[in-house]
């Protein structure tokens, strides 16, 4: 049967039409591709508009079209739109093909003649391919209603509570001993100056006690298989050396433990913890963990003070790492950020000059539950600074480190200025490149800090030094800066410097991305499906992202994303089943020789070998249509629906304008 093909060329406003002569492409297709079955070719301003879609639907019904080619944007954007349009008109949606003449043509070319010629080739390829397309039916699979959330910071907690409150089960996995994330380390939150712990800990407790939430702290995901609705994850629950069934969280073990260790994580190196510890008083869960590296018993073989004093016998030195296997339907990654290591900016002197502090150190200093009970003091632990310099954009907006803006540092710097002013009465200088306070009530906070008398110097700090040039500078830290408003170099002596460090992707974000099959930007932030319209979904169905793992953001935005991701998950759960693209690989048993080359390749474990028949088989429920085995099969016995040899070769022939009268 000869197929009846309709070609629709989209202007996309001026996005395509500005560079490609779309009318020429349509006329050319009607004239030159007629022998291949094109019976109608039209151009239209916006094919994706309802009028554009109606055009296609009408032609399918009135002209009896059996194949559709839409020359427009990338299939990522509107393939679904036009498939639905075809379906509405009674045509199998998989008989529609998108020719990307925007992303692959108009956006990457400036020469109109060349772009138009290339657009014709791309359309020609799509026409040849669509003729080889086959009608396919979607595959429906049930969705497991359980959800895995990775990361127990505020974004992960918010997402977990939303889903749990809706009545579905959540596994909340956290790498550290307690949930709470970075927010649990802060003292105050901008711009309202709420106590961070006061607003966070109720949420933590709620997550810890919720019947629909299983907390897995001190745990990490090690393996993920499966696909949307049916993921299987392996979680390594690290040995706590404390039996959670027996532990009451009374804290006697921590009190009796003789070994003090500098707390580099929670207290940012400013305080001590014991070898058996909970990171902070309100930790959830409040079972301690034993730090094997520092525990006297593990080092020397004696001590066991904790075991002796534990009233419930919960200490278990023989505990081992445990692997837990879970089935979940959806995953939210809320793995947060790492603080930029201020040591890398050598000119700012952190690590070399004692009274240069990082933002996290200052958070701990100013925190009433911190190592100084909230007293803002110098490194000696007693002197109160009389003047303080706060440096913005440390490691951000700097081509030596990170090009991006870390979003929160301006407001963080203003908050620090306010706290220093309030608690010490010191003179405060803020050194900034641009002041970015664009959010609800943020600029008002800036005005407030201005009115409090904080001094602002616009300019990027060149150096922090203790090399005094005169009496006034002696014993001080001198901040060398170009004041770009006053157009002059300034040297400002202060007692204390606080670096408002930027945010960075987690050290292992690329590995985590790989584990869950999602991609990262070049910086290392997880890539969302669409930067504007789909910020919490990823290109992998069933894997969602929230919070700073997606990019730097403040607490309200992290909470909003946590909630947004949970709404997307609930949407999937409530649909009960998911329609999977019917793009699947299958083995022709007659031509399979059982060479077993493909056997170890499937990332979804869909391939098995049948010993009796000496042939390989693919489980269509597990297959994701990635095509790895199709490419690897040396016998050509595996084929992938939607990407058959015939389709691919036809498309190449079409692109190369084979058998055309004119190029």
């Amino acid at each position: 049967m000869t197929e009846r093909v309709g070609v629709y060329v989209c202007h996309c406003g001026s996005n395509i039409a500005g560079v490609v002569d779309v009318v020429d492409v349509a006329n050319w297709a009607a004239e030159k591709l007629g022998r291949r079955g094109v019976i109608i070719a039209r151009d239209y301003k916006f094919m994706c508009s309802s009028l554009g879609q109606e055009l296609i639907e009408k032609d399918i019904k009135e002209l009896g079209l059996t194949r559709i080619v839409v020359a427009a944007c990338s299939p990522h954007l509107h393939e679904k739109t036009f498939r639905i349009a075809a379906k509405n008109a009674g045509l199998n949606p998989y008989l529609v093909e998108l020719a990307s003449i925007r992303e692959q043509v108009s956006w990457v070319h400036t020469d109109k003649a060349v772009a138009t010629a290339k657009a014709k080739a791309v359309v020609s390829g799509a026409v040849s391919r669509v003729i080889e397309n086959q009608a396919l039916e979607e595959i429906k699979v049930p969705i497991n209603p359980n959800t895995l959330i990775v990361g127990g910071g505020i974004a992960g907690i918010q997402a977990a509570l939303e889903i749990a409150n809706a009545g579905f089960h959540v596994y909340l996995v956290e790498r550290e001993p307690s949930i709470g994330g970075h927010m649990s380390q802060f003292d105050k939150t901008f711009p309202t100056l709420d106590c961070s712990a006061c607003i966070l800990t109720p949420r933590m407790v709620e997550a810890g006690t919720h019947p629909n939430i299983t907390l897995l702290t001190w745990s990490e995901v090690t393996k993920v298989t499966g696909y949307v609705g049916n993921f299987n994850v392996t979680i390594k629950k690290k040995a706590r050396f404390v039996n959670e069934e027996l532990c009451t969280g009374c804290g006697i073990c921590q009190e009796k433990c003789p070994k003090k260790v500098i707390d580099e994580v929670y207290e940012a190196g400013l305080g001590y913890r014991k070898a058996v510890y909970t990171p902070f008083a309100q930790a959830v869960p409040n079972f301690p963990v034993m730090d094997k590296e520092n525990c006297t018993y593990f080092i020397k073989g004696t001590c066991k003070a904790c075991e002796k004093f534990c009233p419930t016998g919960a200490i278990d030195f023989k505990q081992e790492d445990q692997l837990i296997n879970l089935d979940v339907g959806n995953v939210i990654l809320a793995t947060g950020y790492d603080l930029f290591d201020a040591r890398r900016v050598r000119n700012d002197g952190y690590g070399r000059l004692p009274n240069v502090f990082t933002s996290l150190e200052f958070e701990r200093l100013s925190n009433a539950a911190g190592p100084t009970n909230g007293n803002i003091v110098l490194r000696d632990g007693k002197s109160t600074p009389k003047s303080v310099g706060i440096i913005h954009c440390v490691g951000s907006r700097d081509r030596n480190f990170n090009n991006y803006c870390s979003v929160i540092c301006c407001m963080q710097g203003l908050k620090f200025a306010h706290l220093v002013h309030e608690r010490t009465g010191a003179t405060v200088y803020n050194f900034y490149i641009d002041m970015r306070t664009a959010y609800k009530a943020y600029d008002e906070f800036y005005q407030r800090v201005l009115e409090e008398g904080t001094l602002f110097v616009r300019g990027k700090v060149a150096e922090v030094t203790d090399a005094a040039r005169n009496e006034r500078e002696k014993g001080k830290l001198i901040i060398q800066v170009e004041d770009t408003l006053a157009s002059k170099q300034r040297r400002i002596p202060v007692d204390m410097v606080i670096l408002s460090s930027g945010l960075q992707p987690r050290r292992d974000s690329k590995d985590v991305g790989k584990l869950f099959g999602i991609s990262c930007s070049t910086d290392g932030w997880f890539t969302e499906k669409h930067p504007k319209l789909d910020p919490v979904a990823t290109m992998t169905e069933g894997i969602f992202i929230a919070g700073c793992a997606q990019g730097p953001k403040d607490i309200p935005s992290s909470v909003a994303q946590g909630a947004a991701a949970s709404a997307r998950v609930l949407d999937k759960i409530l649909q009960k089943e998911v329609a999977l693209e019917p793009v699947r690989a299958s083995v022709d048993k007659a031509t399979c020789s059982g060479c077993r080359i493909c056997n170890g390749l499937c990332p979804f474990n869909a391939i098995s070998f049948i010993e009796d028949d000496q042939v390989t088989e693919i489980n269509p429920a597990l297959c994701q249509g990635c095509g790895t085995c199709v490419a690897a099969c040396p016998a050509g016995a595996i084929s992938g629906t939607g990407f058959s040899n015939e389709q691919i070769i036809a498309q190449i022939d079409g692109l190369l304008m084979k058998n055309l009268e004119m190029v």
Binding site: C592, S593, I597, C633, P634, N645
Partner: protein, 326 residues
């Protein structure tokens, strides 16, 4: 009147002819059932005799060898015109075979190598010419074309019978089939079919045990001692082409302890044999570091000879760019 039979050799080694003779007494069936009108290796005949025949008067022509020069092309077109059924017989006609590897070089380089290397005594630098004047008149020899082509790049082919050479038992089976067709006892396969082969790959006929493969090192078979006689050769690190090669030879080489080199050509459904094979080999390499992958692949000293030994001319690439340009 018996139906007419012809067989011709173009650019080939003559092995295909030997394979036909190797069918022993089956060759008598050919004589009993066919009138052999043209078969240069077996009987005397002139091109002008063929030219004088009526179009379509030969029922079956087995054409072996590929198209290297204008004489090959002329006879291919002539026999196409005169034959009802034209079979590309043997690897050269099907896909270019060993002579096709010459497509890696411009034709000038090939001639230069043949006439001007250390092993050639050519003190007067005499090179072949397509025409030469002698007292009796002008002599012509065929002109080499810039690339070698399989038969179906020049004329329409009805059936393909691969193998270097085709196995005698497969030839016998095909002869039997054609005789049955002539007697009206059987039907011809669909046009364009590959005949005298199995429907899977060499692995299907290979008795060696196979497991999930992971390769940390490729080695030449002579560098492995001892070779496990019962285990898949590829699993032992020997680049065996069996997984991509059409079955039909009863896995002769692996049965004899040597790796398959792919003379039976691509399995059905495989478009480009070499590309398939290289993806298959790469898929089972057990390494993730680029340098380690390079090291393992370096274990295949001549990749083109390994994966395109029999089908470079018939592959998607066909020839080296410089050969095309020459």
């Amino acid at each position: 009147m018996k139906p007419k039979f012809a067989m011709y050799w173009a650019a080939s080694c003559g092995g295909c002819e030997i394979a036909v003779l190797n069918t022993h007494e089956k060759i008598l069936d050919v004589d009993a059932n066919f009138d052999v009108v043209f078969w240069p290796v077996a009987m005397d005949a002139k091109y002008k005799d063929v030219e004088a025949m009526e179009d379509g008067s030969i029922l079956l022509t087995l054409f072996n060898g590929s198209i290297r020069n204008d004489e090959n092309e002329h006879i291919a077109k002539l026999l196409r015109q005169k034959s009802k059924i034209l079979v590309a017989f043997g690897s050269c006609a099907c896909e270019g075979c060993i002579p096709g590897l010459a497509n890696l070089s411009p034709v000038g380089d090939i001639v230069h190598t043949a006439f001007n290397t250390l092993t050639t005594d050519n003190p007067h630098q005499i090179y072949p010419r397509t025409s030469f004047d002698v007292p009796e008149g002008e002599l012509h020899i065929p002109k080499l074309e810039k690339v070698l082509r399989p038969l179906d790049h020049v004329v329409d082919v009805d059936y393909y019978m691969p193998g270097c050479p085709p196995e005698s038992h497969q030839i016998a089976a095909v002869i039997d089939l054609v005789i049955k067709v002539v007697k009206g006892e059987a039907e011809l396969p669909p046009k364009g079919a590959t005949i005298g082969v199995g429907n899977s790959t060499v692995c299907d006929e290979c008795p060696r045990a196979r497991n999930v493969k992971t390769i940390r090192e490729f080695k030449r078979i002579q560098d492995i001692a001892p070779v496990d006689p019962n285990l898949c050769l590829l699993e032992q690190g020997i680049p065996c082409n069996g997984p991509a090669t059409c079955s039909g030879c009863n896995a002769r080489c692996p049965n004899a302890g040597a790796q398959c080199i792919g003379c039976y050509g691509p399995a059905q459904g495989v478009m480009d044999y070499g590309a398939r094979l290289i993806t298959a080999f790469s898929s089972v390499i057990d390494a993730t570091e680029p340098q380690e992958i390079e090291r393992i692949l370096d274990g295949i000293p001549d990749p083109i000879g390994q994966v395109y030994r029999f089908n470079l001319a018939g592959s998607l690439l066909k020839a080296n760019r410089n050969a095309f340009k020459s």
